[in-house]
């Protein structure tokens, strides 16, 4: 059976992620911090589990985002800088297949890196009877979705830039996605112009919104994340990833080395 070029590249990305040790080390650090935070006992009685869930979700988010940036930003530019891209493209593989393969391999590798952290969160929630494990799993899934979108954004940027520029710009997009609500609020405060309000709204709908994947409040306060929300957010992540991947493949297609 001949494997699809996308799958071959994806498998290679995962093997490379394991070989470089960056991802396992980051995952190990994340797990260590989550386990350590489970034993902090100076919090007020009854609120330890709330603190623990808060800390664990934030750690998963921080280390997951870091792993995503480290892994994805070096994918295309790494190949170009080390000139292995010539070898790869001399094989029967199209450029868009290479980008898609890099994306698929990265998101699976990140999923594998994040899974133990989510597992530890669920374990301590089970031990302390600190809420629904299903909701914790949903939070883990939502965080992974945000890393999928971040991977697509980073790959789109990596298609025309070096790894450092890619990492910096990806962080910028991420921060801008949170700042856009501040911009809208500020626009509302300083102007009554309909045009400005319309521009702010357009800005809101077109820029990535990573806040969509934030279900921390629901998990910490033992609320239920509706399946419909999960479904809609999955579609949102798919649309956003498709847009950025399309952008990335188009730019990479035209790029000369």
């Amino acid at each position: 059976m001949i494997a699809s070029p996308v799958l071959v590249v994806a498998r290679q990305v995962m093997r490379e992620a394991w070989r470089r040790r960056t991802l396992p080390v980051l995952a190990l650090f994340g797990c260590g911090i989550i386990i350590a935070s489970a034993f902090l006992s100076f919090f007020q009685l009854g609120t330890e589990i709330k603190f623990f869930k808060d800390v664990a979700i934030a750690v998963i988010f921080l280390f997951g985002a870091m792993a995503t940036l480290v892994l994805v930003s070096t994918q295309l530019s790494g190949e170009i800088e080390s000139r292995t891209i010539y070898n790869v493209l001399s094989k029967p593989i199209r450029r868009y297949e290479l980008v898609l393969g890099k994306f698929a391999g990265s998101v699976v590798a990140i999923g594998i890196a994040v899974a133990p952290m989510v597992g530890i969160l669920m374990f301590f929630m089970y031990v302390d009877q600190g809420g629904s494990l299903l909701e914790a799993a949903k939070a883990g899934y939502m965080l992974w979705l945000s890393f999928v979108v971040l991977s697509a954004v980073a790959l789109a940027i990596a298609s025309f830039s070096s790894s450092i520029v890619c990492a910096a710009l990806s962080v910028l997009v991420y921060v801008a996605s949170y700042l856009k609500s501040a911009v809208i609020a500020y626009a509302g405060m300083v102007t009554y112009s309909r045009l400005a309000a319309g521009a702010a709204q357009t800005f809101y709908y077109l820029l990535p919104n990573f806040e969509n994947f934030n279900v921390r409040m629901a998990v910490v306060h033992d609320q239920v994340v509706p399946w419909a929300y999960l479904f809609r957010t999955t579609l949102y992540a798919a649309a956003l990833s498709a847009f950025f991947l399309y952008l990335g493949t188009q730019i990479f297609q035209e790029r000369e080395f």
């Binding site: 919090f43 603190f51 934030a58 609500s181 279900v215 921390r216 409040m217 994340v225």
Partner: protein, 237 residues
């Protein structure tokens, strides 16, 4: 002509994908309050900006700020045998920041309200702060009894105070919380001269399992025309 159109195809596809992004975002927004009830909180412009900068780690940030407040609050200096008010004044912005980052931080609202009322002599501001906390956390009995105490003792608005504790008493859950709320309500009513109201409240307490003896003690005290004792769990500065 076809070649010319083909030239615009990538742009058309990108635009179509952007429309999908905007459409799904609008679709997600419909469900947003079900997942994050902060989505409906009317934050001020400053709060929105602070929250945006904190991003997804704002909950964690609120938790650590609370630890800082707790640590500093226990290190307040004594001046002439009394707590140094300047130390509390320095901590209040942290409390405000916590409630911006996490509007469900009941403890921060309770502490901030208490400090405003009893340390800084600003009961009006304390009530406003408590009310904001109650609006964001309608099930928080601590905040309802806290604001009732300020309205009763400092603003002498017994009617409003009694309404607040009645609200706390009607929250479902802990019998102890219900008892404390009714206890306070009975004293507020008696202090306002409403003996009948106080007796009615103590009878409600008597109907609660385990509290009959306490209720009968106070009913007997009222029958003897006893004075209003100091309220239990009086918030201490």
């Amino acid at each position: 002509m076809t070649a010319r159109l083909g030239h615009y195809r990538p742009l058309a596809i990108a635009a179509l994908l952007l429309v999908c992004v905007a459409g799904t975002q609008a679709w997600v927004d419909v469900y947003r309050p079900a997942v994050n009830d902060e989505a409906g909180v009317p934050f001020t412009g400053a709060a929105v900006i602070v929250r945006s900068f904190a991003g997804q780690i704002r909950g964690l940030l609120a938790d650590f700020l609370w630890l800082r407040v707790d640590e500093y609050a226990h290190r307040r200096r004594l001046v002439d045998g009394d707590l140094n008010r300047a130390d509390d004044a320095a901590l209040l912005p942290l409390v405000r920041l916590i409630t911006w980052l996490n509007p469900h931080y009941v403890e921060a609202y309770a502490l901030g309200g208490q400090w405003l009322a009893f340390h800084f002599g600003r009961p009006g501001d304390a009530v406003t702060f408590y009310n904001e906390g109650i609006r964001n956390n309608p099930q928080a009995a601590d905040l309802l009894t806290g604001v009732a105490f300020v309205q009763w003792r400092l603003l002498h608005d017994n009617k409003a105070a009694a309404a607040r504790v009645e609200q706390a008493a009607n929250l479902t859950g802990d019998d102890m919380v219900r008892f404390q709320a009714l206890w306070l309500e009975a004293h507020i009513l008696l202090d306002g001269g409403d003996r009948t109201g106080a007796i009615r409240v103590w009878r409600r307490v008597a109907a609660m399992p385990g509290y009959r003896q306490t209720a009968e003690h106070f009913l007997a005290q009222i029958a003897r025309g006893g004075a209003v004792p100091a309220a239990p769990g009086t918030p201490r500065p």
